[in-house]
């Protein structure tokens, strides 16, 4: 899938970076919750609590990849890893009952989470430049998420088309050998 986020490659400055690292686990937890909260209330606990990788793939993918995504975001950028994490999460969400905006909205919500955290912790003023840069970066990731979402949907349709092609059989179709039940004949 798409590589590179070269457009606005902002370097997150150390001070904000430090705060984000300090608050790592609390932000990650909230970010996970933002995603899990988009599922029906009856299911959220299952997605959160069931730790078995195979009994609960959705919850575990969200859990693991959000964590990696966050770490990559505040570390020096590894675009490949970021893309991979986003892919893992969005692949799941693009086949669930979500509108596109709902499927990828969690990326932008990180901005809100970070701001809330900063407001309660440190004055934003001193960080505004860095914060701006960080938020621009999140915007870029959101665009990337949009690309990935589109690719996933594209993939679904590709698979559909290929399946039809394969089933309607290159071979049989070419030779016109299959038998279709014709439209109703009156005597039947």
């Amino acid at each position: 899938m798409r590589k590179g986020l070269d457009t606005t490659r902002a370097v997150v400055e150390t001070s904000l970076k430090n705060i984000l690292s300090d608050k790592r686990s609390s932000i990650i937890k909230k970010w996970r919750d933002v995603i899990v909260d988009t599922y029906p209330s009856e299911t959220q606990r299952f997605f959160r609590k069931e730790k078995d990788l195979f009994a609960n793939p959705v919850g575990n993918i969200i859990s693991k990849d959000v964590e990696t995504l966050y770490d990559e975001l505040i570390k020096d950028d590894d675009d490949d890893k970021i893309t991979l994490c986003l892919e893992n999460i969005i692949k799941v969400r693009s086949i669930q009952d979500f509108k596109p905006s709902q499927a990828i909205g969690f990326v932008l919500q990180l901005k809100k989470l970070v701001r809330e955290m900063l407001e309660s912790k440190a004055p934003i003023n001193g960080l505004s430049g860095e914060l701006q840069a960080f938020e621009n970066r999140i915007d870029d990731i959101a665009l990337l998420a949009f690309d990935i979402y589109s690719q996933c949907r594209q993939k679904i349709y590709e698979i559909r088309v290929n399946e039809v092609k394969n089933q309607l059989g290159s071979l049989l179709k070419r030779a016109n050998l299959t038998f279709e039940i014709p439209e109703q004949e009156p005597e039947l």
């Binding site: 606990r45 730790k51 990788l53 693991k64």
Partner: protein, 358 residues
């Protein structure tokens, strides 16, 4: 059904059921009604109800043999089969049913090798997420023990197994709990276990959103009823003592079909008895029938021997099929063309006449 309404409704229903004998015996002294008539009516409902239900189930045949196979089938001598989870014959089925009924084996299946993400990679361990299984087991077994212990009220002389149970059940608690110092009789493990298990089962229903979602008043009601039954029993035993001799007189009278209603039994006993009566009368109409149903469950009580022992469907009926002749009639020309053998050759220039089926 919404869980708040469910709980309110069930709670209200059970409270009312507690009030009825309280008022009935306490205020109006209807001892015969609550000590004799209601218990008899409930017992009759219980036995007749269960028999009717089981007969009703039994009337529906088992047209197909559909066990859920949970292990390797019997095939070659050199392949190890699983005679219990994939029973080949009656013996395996019996073991499977015993494990199912006595140990709730299918519930226990939840035990699994667990893979989870942990710091520094994947962690593999066994997960003990068996609370449901454990609580269910604790509940049913302690209920059984309590039931059996009650035989000392119904029988004279008290059977020896009751004494044995009594001492086993009470043994571990001797001097352990502070109750003993308070001059109350020794505490039965089964009492504590059952109350704890029922309470757990209730909170589990409330706490786990998926389970809360599927729960009906029919799930809360029996839980509350059993809780009330247990609590009144415990109250009677440890706090609001009643005249045991009189109770025993009443109970034996009931069982000997010469009911007497002795004086001097506290209202608490009548409440206990009434709740029990409601529980057993409710039994045949409720999900509690699972105790009988499990024995009839076709996915568990049949062996996976379909390929070597014929199973007959009692209501089998002939169906319309597309015979080979009809098929060949439609495709004969093309079949001949490509060299497939046919039953009938094409008759020269004549309308193919009606073929009869074999």
């Amino acid at each position: 059904m919404n869980f708040i309404i469910s709980i309110l409704f069930s709670g209200f229903a059970v409270s009312t059921l507690i009030l009825i004998p309280w008022v009935g015996v306490g205020a109006f002294d209807l001892r015969v009604l609550f000590g004799v008539i209601v218990p008899y009516a409930a017992m009759a409902t219980f036995f007749i109800g269960i028999i009717v239900r089981v007969i009703d189930w039994g009337k529906s045949p088992v047209p197909f043999r559909i066990p859920t196979t949970a292990g390797q089938e019997w095939s070659f001598p050199w392949i190890k089969s699983n005679p219990i989870d994939n029973p080949r014959g009656t013996g395996g089925v019996i073991v499977r049913m015993i494990l199912e009924v006595l140990l709730f084996r299918s519930l226990f299946r939840n035990t699994r090798l667990e893979y989870r993400n942990a710091d520094g990679g994947l962690k593999v361990d066994y997960e003990w997420e068996k609370w449901l299984w454990l609580a269910a087991l604790a509940f049913h077994w302690s209920f059984l023990v309590i039931f059996l212990r009650h035989f000392r009220f119904f029988m004279e002389p008290i059977p020896s197994f009751v004494h044995l149970l009594d001492s086993l059940d009470g043994f571990l608690q001797m001097g352990v709990l502070p109750f003993n110092g308070l001059g109350v009789p020794c505490v039965y493990i089964s009492d504590l276990l059952m109350l704890a298990a029922v309470t757990y089962l209730f909170f589990r229903r409330l706490y786990i959103p998926q389970v809360r979602y599927i729960s009906l008043p029919a799930d809360y009601f029996p839980l509350f009823l059993i809780l009330a039954l247990g609590l009144t029993g415990v109250l009677m035993r440890y706090f609001l003592r009643v005249d045991i001799t009189a109770v025993k007189e009443l109970a034996i009278g009931l069982f000997k079909f010469s009911p007497t209603v002795p004086e001097g039994i506290g209202v608490i006993f009548y409440i206990h008895l009434f709740i029990l009566s409601v529980l057993i009368a409710y039994f045949p109409f409720s999900k509690l029938m699972h105790f009988a149903g499990v024995f009839l469950s076709p996915t568990r009580n049949l062996s996976n021997n379909n390929r070597f022992v014929r199973h007959v469907n009692p209501w089998d009926y002939p169906v319309q099929t597309h015979t080979y002749d009809e098929y060949e009639d439609e495709f004969r020309e093309r079949m001949i063309e490509i060299g497939l053998p046919v039953e009938k050759q094409i008759e020269p220039k004549e309308e193919p006449k009606e073929e009869e089926k074999e």
